[in-house]
Symmetry: C2
Subunit: 371 residues, 2 copies
């Protein structure tokens, strides 16, 4: 009955929400510090919260499916036209549209060695094969070698990259784009772009709008503080957007999500404040890493990735932190002995430093005893 | 670059929101009566609105992706296990999952002549062919003939049916299910089931849970008043649900949608009140139709379909009502000279009766002059 290319996809196993697991360790939910999902530690804009609260009764009404106002806001922000924009339930859903229109069981995607997990998930959902470069960084020469040898149908450039935090220079991005076949689609995923400071790493949709085979992705989930509302967007030339619209379901974001994204677009001060806090607190993480001599990937995002040597095991550290009420992301499933920590509020970060330093010192002490 | 089976899908053309169109006729938005989308005229439960308002700040936090509490509520309501449930962004998204796992360009779906438009939309998105029975009603013999001659991969039974409002008896539904090949999936779409009164038309998920190839769909969009939040569900045996989970994206409904559906599940009084209002007001529509000698389809839902004879043109009527600030659904695109009207509040319905009777009398008077 079912499409055969789906047979290798692992079957979902519903786990308990992690908050419940932590509660089982005797920690009250208000004491849990969750630095695992790169949510905005400031929450959302007060204006967004007010707009949602005063429109709660609109839960019964279908949203404006043309998303007229939201597209207007994005048009103004990025200097593109409404016809060059598609809205998704998170940029995730735009990735799904892209995968749907391009991929089938004869297709291939190309991505860096460690990058956003959804590229693979959607590739598998459409039966495509996954190719990777050797490095987690997006190194043009590595991409070009694979492009020339395998001609992938979709090429993913995630910059800044998740879950590593590094970014790719504009120059390097264009080297990859210029090497790509005109028959392949290049996806430049910029979910964390609002956090980037250095000019050479900054990318905007207009950089690619005249390219026939490039799409820029952005999201309201991070700097705009709407992780829970699931609103993202793709911006590209009209031909690409028209293709994606063929597989977009009507009403693909909720009424309140639409409203929240429109309000969030009008509160750039909130984004500025979020980015400023992130910058300040990131310095403390770097100091912490240096003090404890932990290797880290310099980050252009709202998270930092700590790389452990053989003395430490990232999964054990993650579990032990969880027992103390601090949830971070173990990167073992990405093949890294590393953890990814979302930059939180000042007090959340202090708590993280406290429990992580305890954990590291405890392990050092075991180590010195066993040697 | 793109999958060839998509080439025949019409490209989306963004229209202005209908509210804006009406405003251009000089009608203020508070005076517009929208009876076009089968939204709940009572809005949503007050408890839902309060829960959303007091949790608006949670817009930044990703939802519990296991949807533990919502599944618990549905398990209790329907007497099934959490493993037999999948949640979608509207039951629409469950239709998408179903289409994705079953369909490809060699597949066929079977539906009644006039039914929910999304079946075709998703079939086309996966390249499948669409077969229809002669009648808009779900007549088992018509389905069986097509099943025997064409062996469709998905068979859709929409009961009560949208946009016609009629329902199919349990006996007739099971005749179709029993005739279906074990290699095909039967989808029993019960989005409007809460409005059904007569025992012989009532269906519950448990009726099908032991079937290997049947899935029951339900939604929070109608009687539960959450049209704008996009929450629906599929209930079937675990094997089917596991397959659908392979193509479910993580976080497929927003945090506030999840919260709203959980709260709505706990306020059955609101549903009872909504259904009672609908029943009362439906009587007025029937009286109206009889008075003006308009043919109608007896409805088991929260809408009624009026069928016009050659004296009237449904599209003209819809446009003229719109100019007077009343929005209803023209069914010309379904091949019917008919309009579908959502049963509104008492005052909304009075307004509809007023403008529709004016329109009909005006047209009668033109008719009598030209004859």
């Amino acid at each position: 009955m079912y499409n055969s290319y789906l047979k290798d996809i692992k079957t979902y196993e519903a786990g308990k929400p992690i908050e419940l697991v932590v509660r089982e360790f005797g920690i009250e939910s208000q004491d849990v510090v969750k630095l695992a999902s790169n949510e905005n530690p400031l929450g959302c804009s007060e204006k967004v919260a007010q707009a949602i609260a005063s429109s709660a009764q609109k839960a019964s009404l279908y949203p404006d499916d043309s998303m007229y106002e939201l597209k207007e806001a994005l048009s103004l922000r990025f200097g593109v036209t409404a016809k060059e924009i598609i809205i998704g339930a998170g940029s995730d859903q735009v990735l799904e549209f892209i995968s749907h229109v391009v991929l089938n069981s004869a297709s291939k995607i190309l991505r860096s060695a460690v990058t956003f997990a959804m590229y693979d998930i959607y590739a598998k959902q459409f039966g495509a094969q996954i190719l990777t470069t050797p490095s987690y960084q997006h190194i043009a020469d590595e991409f070009i070698e694979k492009i020339e040898s395998a001609n992938p149908d979709i090429i993913y450039i995630c910059t800044p990259n998740n879950p590593t935090g590094d970014a790719t220079t504009r120059e390097e991005v264009f080297k990859i784009i210029n090497a790509a076949s005109k028959d392949s689609l290049v996806v430049v995923d910029c979910a964390y772009m609002e956090y980037v400071e250095e000019e050479e790493y900054k990318l905007v949709p207009k950089d690619f709008i005249n390219c026939d085979n490039v799409i820029y992705l952005g999201t309201f989930s991070k700097a705009f503080g709407l992780g829970g509302m699931r609103v993202g967007y793709g911006i590209a030339n009209e031909n690409i957007i028209n293709m994606l619209y063929k597989v977009r379901p009507p009403f693909n974001i909720s009424s309140l999500s639409l409203l929240a994204a429109i309000e969030a677009s009008h509160d750039i001060d909130f984004v500025t404040k979020s980015v400023a806090l992130n910058r300040e607190e990131m310095k403390r993480y770097i100091d912490f890493a240096k003090k404890y001599e932990i290797e880290y990937i310099p980050s252009k995002t709202n998270f930092i990735t700590l790389l452990f040597d053989e003395k430490h095991n990232s999964s054990e550290i993650a579990t032990n932190l969880m027992k103390k009420g601090v949830i971070i992301r173990d990167l073992a499933s990405y093949g890294l002995n590393a953890i990814r920590i979302t930059i939180g509020t000042k007090s959340q970060n202090s708590k993280l430093f406290e429990v992580l330093s305890q954990e590291l010192q405890y392990r050092e002490s075991i180590e010195s005893k066993t040697v």
